[in-house]
Symmetry: C2
Subunit: 207 residues, 2 copies
DNA sequence: TTTCTTATTGAACGATCGTTCAATTGTGAT
DNA sequence: ATCACAATTGAACGATCGTTCAATAAGAAA
């Protein structure tokens, strides 16, 4: 009679990938209102029950989505830096340019991040995803600063402390721009970070 | 027979103050789990219905609590700076010292702030409280930078841009320290900010 | 003491939440 | 073509949410 199937079966791994993507899309579009299993399953085009078939709880899905999105964003930036041939200083500039583009500087990301942070307070799983991705970001910053610091013309400075300062400034500017993009332009944020690194290389800080 | 009253009446203003305080205490203690009217009313020692008698909705109470807490914290810092006699540069240092003390740098505040940010996405009222208090913070930073810039030995720099850079660094370090206090010590954050201002006054940045 | 105002209570309501599970059905293996 | 497995469905459950509102009673005014 009716030979159009009511649903399509998928292998667990493929379905989980779909669910993760749907979760990210859902949080992008609806923010904290997109956090419910019904909202996510509607976005994924599947029934409510399927989420708990593939995940022990909603929190595990959120944690996976967190890790996927954060890793993707960082990887996008890293790829752009890797494609740039040049000195460590030029690579740092390439990093800033990518960071202050819509690859990172996008209000939808803060909208999602707030939900992740909110969930981190409730769920151990989400907090673990947070810690892992945060460490990856800081490691990347520190690596670039180390390459800078090993140049012959570079003054002595504390790599760890410099990485904290720079990622603090990056995070802070990202946060503030997302909270209110009218306060300053992305290029101004970029200029502030370039200036900070110039100051560092000129020995203006005692680190 | 029983002459101990079942409850004590309070004037609306006094009761609202109690509710605001209870909300802040509740969010401090329980984070996002302390957001419900039942949780808040239990903390305040009153019945569930009373909140909606004094506030049209829960969001209005949250917005009031946001504004109260943010204003109080900023005021505490301003008071300490005001008590400090000295040059604009010394006042800036007093500000940093207060900022990197538990007056501002306290994990419980981020826990509360995440709830506020989370609510900002849902409630226009909460977002207004956020915008207002954020502007007050930035205004204070810019004022101190202006006092610095008007010194005869100061180089020319853009006050607005400098305020964005400094408050970005302050916000970012606050956020990162609260997310994971083991990454760096408060004194290190203070040192980074002092170094940034020293660089600014030495003309290391082109702002 | 009596009256009147209104702050306060707490049960009730409808909505929504995450999760469960028996029934269904797509799909590859036989 | 048939079987067996398991991916998928969707109704149902109990918990919790914010809000409403009729009943109550505290406390000032008369």
């Amino acid at each position: 009679m009716n030979d159009t199937p009511k649903f399509r079966r998928q292998a667990p791994d493929a379905r989980k990938k779909d669910l993760i993507d749907a979760t990210i899309r859902c949080l992008e579009k609806k923010g904290s209102d997109g956090l419910s299993v019904r909202s996510i399953s509607a976005e994924a085009g599947i029934s409510v029950g399927l989420i708990n078939h593939h995940y022990p709880s909603k929190d595990d899905l959120i944690a996976d989505a967190y890790e996927k999105l954060a890793t993707d964003i960082l990887q996008n930036v890293i790829n752009i830096v890797a494609e740039t041939d040049g000195s460590p200083r030029e690579k740092m500039s390439a990093f800033f340019k990518a960071y202050f583009s819509s690859i990172v500087l996008d209000q939808k990301f803060l909208r999602i991040w707030i939900v992740f942070w909110y969930m981190s307070d409730k769920s151990e799983k989400v907090r673990l995803s947070h810690d892992k991705t945060n460490a990856g970001f800081r490691r990347q910053i520190e690596l670039m600063l180390r390459n800078l610091g090993e140049l012959p013309e570079a003054p002595d400075f504390n790599y760890r402390l410099a990485a904290i300062g720079l990622s603090g400034m990056l995070d802070g500017l990202w946060l503030e721009w997302c909270l209110n993009p009218e306060i300053f332009a992305p290029e101004e944020g970029l200029m502030l970070c370039e200036g900070w690194v110039d100051g560092l290389m000129a020995g203006a800080f005692k680190l």
